[in-house]
């Protein structure tokens, strides 16, 4: 299936490429039968993606963490 997609992809336009790459993310709706290992892998993946997004957020060096937290 994957090989087939790659073969097809050689004829895709840039826009189609973007759509094709986004498709797996959109289809990520988890199946009921996911195993414990799959669920853990997904949780780790989510954290990894979150960490990447956090890493890209620009912050001046002077910004301290919200410790001790006081509203």
């Amino acid at each position: 299936m994957v090989r087939h997609n790659i073969a097809m992809a050689q004829k895709l336009t840039r826009r189609e490429w973007v759509a094709a790459l986004a498709a797996p993310a959109l289809a990520q709706a988890p199946a009921e039968e996911e195993s414990a290992e799959q669920l853990l892998a997904r949780a780790r993946q989510d954290l990894l993606q979150g960490a990447e997004r956090l890493g890209k957020f620009p912050l001046p060096m002077a910004v301290e963490p919200a410790f001790v937290f006081k509203p």
Binding site: P30, A43, D46, L47, G50, L54, L59, E64, K70
Partner: protein
């Protein structure tokens, strides 16, 4: 012995207090009647964790003795209530809604329960909750030792989480008020779904000593009641400094509705896109009407928008890192596998792997969030937005993906107000504001830290103009389930 009239089960605390003093019924009669209802209807909504009938009746007798002697200790005296099962009660099981802790017993009472005992309120039951208050992130409403919280308005719908039993019990007239907790949405969501009034206090205003920790820097305890006014009375009793809680702000809340700012003096921020695009279509008429009611109170309405910050990601990272640290012994022991929700098990395990770098980054962005919220509250006094954008979900529906994906609106509006408000430790009040498809929906008022009096005053004014908070679900078993 006086029979308790049906209307008393849905009466506000202030009214019950007056009727107790007028000797229409005694605290023992009232407590026995509520215990009967808890026993009869609690399991119907999976709302009951533990009935405390004997202890409650003993306390009710003491309250009656005091009332007879003319010793009035305030409006909560002789009033039964329920507490989320994450609050420890000495010598009784405190399960945190989770199988691994089903046999857990503490030898001390949570501070909030001691304070309510001092006000002579009567703890009648411990109420069901999502296991570990949802730590790790759950997929299904069934993530609880007591099964999915069922909504009194429609038992095929969820009562919301994680304070499921607290909201359902108040909505169904099983207790006059209940204690709940919120880390991110756990008071406001069930309050909105069940059509009751919930107050999330400012972080640090209410002691968490004796409560299950999930996130040290985000956990709050607050009341779920029949009205904004009742929330004020309960908050008055449970607030205050506590040397046992390192996060205590050392402040006490004095309920002074007469001293709060009048609506005409308030600037209320709102975002039209919240209602016209983010909200589910069926709920929009109720939200529009609620906004008109608020406008009609004479407040100055201003259009606002939250700054573009990753609120949800930051809140999720912090709760995940702190929650997994809290429950590290459970995870390492393997007992985590006994939890009901498999996604939650995975989430707790993965949370242990969050790096210090990422946690600190989230906490630094949180500082920016707090600063931005401070700036926003320089131009407004209160923010108003839907508590949830639609009514309660079906109990079978996965909570981590929408039933019907919709195109995302271009403007942010106040969509992330829940995450932003919890990150900044801001108080919020959820007010029922109508129905969508026969299910309650609600708006939230959010204010500056320690501005609970303003929120409650505005909530009272709203509830003086509406009767959504007085609506009752069909509780009798003879009523056919929808």
């Amino acid at each position: 012995m006086a029979a308790i009239p049906e209307d008393a089960f849905f009466a506000p605390v202030t009214e019950l207090s007056r009727r107790l003093r007028d000797e229409e019924f005694t605290a023992v009669e009232l407590t026995r009647a509520f215990c009967d209802r808890l026993e009869k209807f609690g399991p119907r909504y999976n709302a009951l964790a533990l009935l405390l009938r004997e202890e409650a009746l003993r306390k009710a007798r003491e309250a009656d003795d005091e009332i007879k002697r003319g010793r009035f200790r305030g409006v909560l005296q002789g009033i039964p209530f329920g507490a989320k099962d994450l609050l420890s009660v000495r010598g009784k099981p405190t399960t945190w809604g989770a199988r691994p802790y089903a046999g857990q017993v503490f030898d001390y009472d949570a501070t909030v329960l001691r304070k309510l005992d001092r006000a002579r309120a009567i703890l009648a039951a411990k109420l069901a909750m999502v296991e570990l208050a949802g730590g790790g992130g759950y997929r299904y409403a069934s993530a609880s030792l007591t099964g999915p919280g069922l909504n009194p308005w429609d038992r095929t719908r969820w009562s919301g989480g994680s304070s499921s039993g607290s909201a359902a019990a108040v909505a169904a007239g099983l207790v006059p008020f209940a204690l709940a907790s919120e880390t991110w949405g756990s008071i406001l969501t069930p309050s909105a779904y069940c059509g009751v009034t919930g107050l999330r206090p400012t972080y640090g205003l209410v002691s968490r000593y004796g409560a299950m920790p999930l996130s040290w820097t985000m956990d709050k305890i607050g009341p779920i009641c029949r009205s904004a006014d009742d929330c004020g009375h309960v908050l008055r009793a449970i607030s205050g400094g506590d040397s046992n809680d390192p996060s205590s702000a050392g402040k006490t809340f004095y309920y002074n509705p007469q001293l709060a700012r009048r609506p005409a003096e308030l600037r209320v921020g709102y975002a039209p896109v919240d209602i016209e695009e983010w909200a589910e279509e069926s709920a929009r008429p109720a939200f529009r009407q609620a906004l008109e009611v608020i406008r009609g109170l004479g407040v100055k309405m201003l259009e606002v928008e939250l700054p573009d910050l990753p609120y949800g990601l930051v809140a999720g990272t912090i709760i995940s890192a702190e929650g997994s640290a809290v429950f590290e012994p459970l995870i390492r022991s393997g007992q985590v596998e006994q939890l009901a929700d498999r996604k939650q098990i995975a989430g707790l395990k993965a949370g242990l792997e969050i790096s210090a770098k990422d946690y600190f980054k989230a906490m630094r962005i949180r500082r920016v969030v707090m600063e931005e919220m401070r700036k926003l509250f320089a131009s407004v006094d209160v923010l108003v937005s839907p508590s949830r954008f639609g009514p309660a979900t079906k109990i079978t529906e996965p909570l981590d993906r929408p039933a019907r994906p919709r195109p995302e609106p271009k403007r942010r509006g106040l969509r992330d107000l829940g995450a932003a408000g919890n990150l900044a430790g801001l108080p919020a009040l959820s007010l029922p504001c109508g129905f969508a498809g026969g299910l309650p929906v609600a708006i939230q008022l959010v204010g500056r830290p320690f501005s609970e009096n303003n929120l409650i005053a505005l909530g009272r004014a709203f509830q003086d103009q509406t009767d959504w908070h007085r609506r009752r679900p069909p509780v009798e078993p003879s009523t056919p389930d929808r």
